[in-house]
Amino acid sequence: MSWRADLLAVWAVVVRNALMASRNVFFFFELLFWPIVGVISIGLMTRFLGITPAQASFVLIGTIALSVVNVCQLEVAYAVLMDVWSKSIKHQFLAPIGIRHLTVGSWLVGMVRGGTLFTLLAVLAWCAFDFRVLAAGPRGVAVFLFGCFLNAWIVGVFVCALITLFGNRAEAFAWASVNLVLVLAGIYYPVSLLPAPAAALARAIPLTYFLDAYRSHFGFASEFAAPIATGLALSVVYAVVAHLAFYAAVQRARRTGLLLKMSE
């Protein structure tokens, strides 16, 4: 496949996802309502508990990360979910495109949505709770956001694989899986607080390292030696594994006939 055809296929998915997102009120709630409610309620809770500004920033960073990863991951899952819902998935797999086009195209839209959400939540956190997200500097923010997006991509691709493997029954994974990852990655607490087996799992999650690196800009001691490098390395490994899993799931769906059952 030529580079041009590759880019066009990715662009096709970008345009489709963007059009679908712009016409669905459900997407509005995902993008704005729940994340804003989350930041406001968590921010108010930090005030009620009377914790230090540093501790409040620790928790708010987690809340923002949760929202950004969630929105971006859902967008990646929509690469398959929207076609499953509308029973049109066979047309997608009848066309000469690979799974990379689906996941990259959806991810690009997810990053735009995640970036928009991050900006909104950053402004909200600053205005309402005097928490300055940009205090980490442009590089720190960019690395943190990229880490969130990478994690969202990986989880989203795994969700696509599960849906292609099990059909509509796996839909709940689209909403549930990322929360499990976020709990383990220590969104509201240091991973050192987790029980030993859970802490071991946390060390296998790339987001753990990106959160750690970002929080270090706010005065929290880093728990890991080279968090960014470790997070990136783990992300590469998981991205490859997730895509292999998705590819295998599509091939299995072609063998079992699930691809047809999920269509028309």
């Binding site: 496949m1 662009w11 059009l19 929207m82 009848l94 066309a95 006939g257 047809l260």
Partner: protein, 317 residues
Amino acid sequence: MPSPAPTLAIDAREVAKTFRSGWFRPRLTDALRGVTLQVPRGAIVGLLGPNGAGKTTFLSILATLLIPDRGTARVLGLDVVRDSMALRRRLNMASGRPSFLWSLRVSEIIAFYGRLYGLSGVALRVRVDKLIEQYELKPYRRVPYSELSTGLKQRVALAKSLVNDPELLFLDEPTLGLDPDVSVRVRAHIAALRRERGMTIVLTTHYMREAEELCDEVAFIKAGRILDAGTPEALKRRIGLGDVIALRLEPAPPAWLGEAPGVLRCATADGWTKCTVDDAEKRLPDLLRQLFADGVTVRNVRVREPELEEVFVELAR
């Protein structure tokens, strides 16, 4: 395996597919039990059969949507499993129960698939406009898919299936559930595709008349097996159903009529005597001459060939 003859669009041999359902005690359904079919380039071939015969399964294997358990299938000279990606560029498919992303508009759906097939810029706009024009979708180009009627959805599916100008088109029940006037137009479009572009078309249908009208060759499929295949005329000849000569006679038909040369059987009902003969063109003049000689008045005569439906009933016995 020897390379297929270049004149063949499809060369499927002993294709078999079994579906498993259930986790603990899997139920096995043999959808295809060794289907062999050759389709020449530029032909319209119909797969006929009842529900659950395996028509859609076979079509889906040829379109690379399903992987066969056994057998080989080469489409446009490419293996449907090994060369699936290259093959997908050259074929397309539309079904009689189409479904697309509900909130996308007609033009957006066609453009989305156009991009997936490598179209962009002016070329994409021209192709989308042309297909919208061709399938009379202009008034609906900005209407979301979910708001279209069944007939319009079908037309969108047909337009989408031509977005890559395929060499081979699969149509799964293309007129299912359509109003008769729309069905006529869809059939005319299908015939025009072959006539104007030399496209190879494989369609599945329940409607024998549709197959008779459109197809150069038909294959009867039942319980995952091809019962017989060939041109409609050849099939009728091969099955030997004969032609039916219906006569309105006065007085009653003579006793010798059922035993006249070439007459296979005779029955009278509702004032019509229906004689099945081996060849109507050959036997009718003799029958009329003898009836006249016996003083029998022939008030009306109708001759008809057996229909594909009768051929299928005979084959399925």
